[in-house]
Structures are given as structure tokens and as C-alpha cells.
Symmetry: C2
Subunit: 137 residues, 2 copies
DNA sequence: TTCGTTGCAAACATTTTGCAGTTTC
DNA sequence: GAAACTGCAAAATGTTTGCAACGAA
């Protein structure tokens, strides 16, 4: 891996990611930071997110409604993803243990570097919306 | 949901999916079926994959190297994904139980419809390749 | 001074969509 | 015969990339 130099933009991206629980997409980060850094470009956000996740400083949650989502919390945990509104929520009690994961890797001869464990469905709000829509038709 | 009519193309897609363990992408299916159905179009493959997964006849594995991958095996199980070659393999012993998942849903007030549980890393082959590359540099 | 980082815009890749014709029931 | 399904091509979308200028060490 090449040498990594510090940069204002990357610091800002990481700071922002660590201040939110929303599991942001590249574009969300771009929109947020544009105010403070008017000349920021979306390409830079993508390049930094890719670099940070290669370094395991942040983690990929998965592609949700067409957009990759990221998480600055690298402590092992699962997620719930709402298929209607796209909200991602932490499920802290529900992480596969590092031990189990590594044991599985050994069993099959894989080198396990990470995981994505996402439950999918409808969040509380969207569950209600769907019920209302159905009763209207 | 609208009425569903049977169709030759959809039958063929499902038949193909059930005959392979490779967790195909839309394009892979398209390439395979083009020989037998020369006028098949990629849009049709996409439309059918979307419909089949809405009906829970197949399941989405996740986006791997930019392409959504699908699985006709709907029995709950986890996957291992190689980050280098993109291979997806079943981990049958390693499924979150339906009971646990529904219990979690109840606890948080979610309606859980499915899940993706993917370990990520390097498969046996790619592990060796990487080792060779490193010792060469 | 070196080389990693960035802005910009163009390029890329995958997926979706509108429409007219076809197939299913 | 109504409505779902399909082929085709264009559009839409998210992400990557080439290049020249900039910034960090």
C-alpha cells in the first residue's frame, strides 16, 4: 500500500462520519461538507471513503437503494435496513463473534477480513405507512 | 401486487438459477441464456430477477464488485464472498435462525423480511496468489 | 522537492424505463 | 380481449478515472 498523507478533506470526512449515526452515503457526506468546503468534489469523497475502508478505519455497510453506505463504527455489530425508507440502524446485541468468524475461515481455508450482517424489512414507521396504504385500497 | 403470468423466459431464468451454485449476476444469466434464446434482452432478465425476488422465490445476495448477485436457494444460509475474484460460496452451517431474527424484529418493532449475512475476505486460491505477489515485490 | 491529494469533467458500468409488439390466460 | 410480458434503445444513476494544479512532509 502506498504512503498515506494526512489531508484536510479526509479529516473532515472522518470527523463527520464519527459524529453521525446515519450510516452515510458518499453523496450525503458531500452535501453536508459542501457548505464548509465549497470546492469539495464528489470524486474526492469517493476516493477517501475507498481509502478509509481499505485501511479498515471505516466499514462498508452494503449497497442500499443503489448507494453504498458506510459506518465509522468498526466495532463488530449487525444492522437493520429498512427496504422502504433506506434507514440503517445498529443492532449492537447481534454481532457474530470474531472468534466464530475466524473459526469458520479456518474450516474452509478462507482469510476472513470482514463481514456484513444486515437484517432487511420495514422499520416501525414504514410498517405503519404500509398498513395505512393497504387499508386505503 | 399485480397478477403474475407464467412466461417462457422467466421459467428459463429460474431453471438456470436452480441448476447452478455460482450465485449469478443478471449479466451472467443473460450470457448463458442468449444461446438458447437469441432474442432475449438484458432488461427482461433484470425485470424477472426483480419480480422473483419480490416474490421471495429467489434471494438477493448483495452487490459484489458492482453487480447484484442472486441465489435461488432460499433456505436460510450465509455466504462467503471473495473480495479478489468475486466468488460467492455457501456457508450452510452458519445461518441466523429464523426464530432469533423474528425475536430481534419484535424487540425493536421492525418487520423483518430477510437478511444478508456475508463474510468477506480472500478465498483459498486468492490467498495464495496474494502471497506470491507479495513475495515477488 | 517529491509525491500524495484534489477539482473538474468526462468516462464507465450497471440498472431502469418507455413504448410498441407479443404472449398468456 | 385484457393485461402481463418482452425486445429494443435510450435514459438514469452511482462510481471511477485522467489530468493539471495544489498541498503536505
Amino acid at each position: 500500500m502506498a504512503i498515506v498523507r494526512r489531508s484536510q478533506k479526509r479529516d473532515a470526512i472522518l470527523r463527520l462520519m464519527r459524529s453521525t449515526k446515519c450510516h452515510p452515503s458518499a453523496d450525503w457526506i458531500y452535501q453536508q461538507l459542501k457548505e464548509q468546503y465549497p470546492n469539495l468534489s464528489l470524486g474526492t469523497v469517493y476516493r477517501n471513503l475507498n481509502q478509509l475502508s481499505e485501511q479498515h478505519i471505516i466499514r462498508r455497510v452494503g449497497v442500499i437503494q443503489g448507494q453504498e453506505r458506510f459506518d465509522a463504527d468498526t466495532y463488530p455489530h449487525a444492522h437493520f435496513v429498512c427496504n422502504r425508507c433506506g434507514t440503517v440502524m445498529d443492532l449492537p446485541d447481534c454481532a457474530p463473534s470474531e472468534q466464530d468468524i475466524q473459526a469458520l475461515g479456518k474450516q474452509y481455508g478462507f482469510m476472513v477480513e470482514g463481514h456484513e450482517f444486515n437484517l432487511r424489512g420495514l422499520c416501525q414507521d414504514c410498517k405503519h405507512h404500509i398498513t395505512l396504504e393497504e387499508s386505503a385500497s
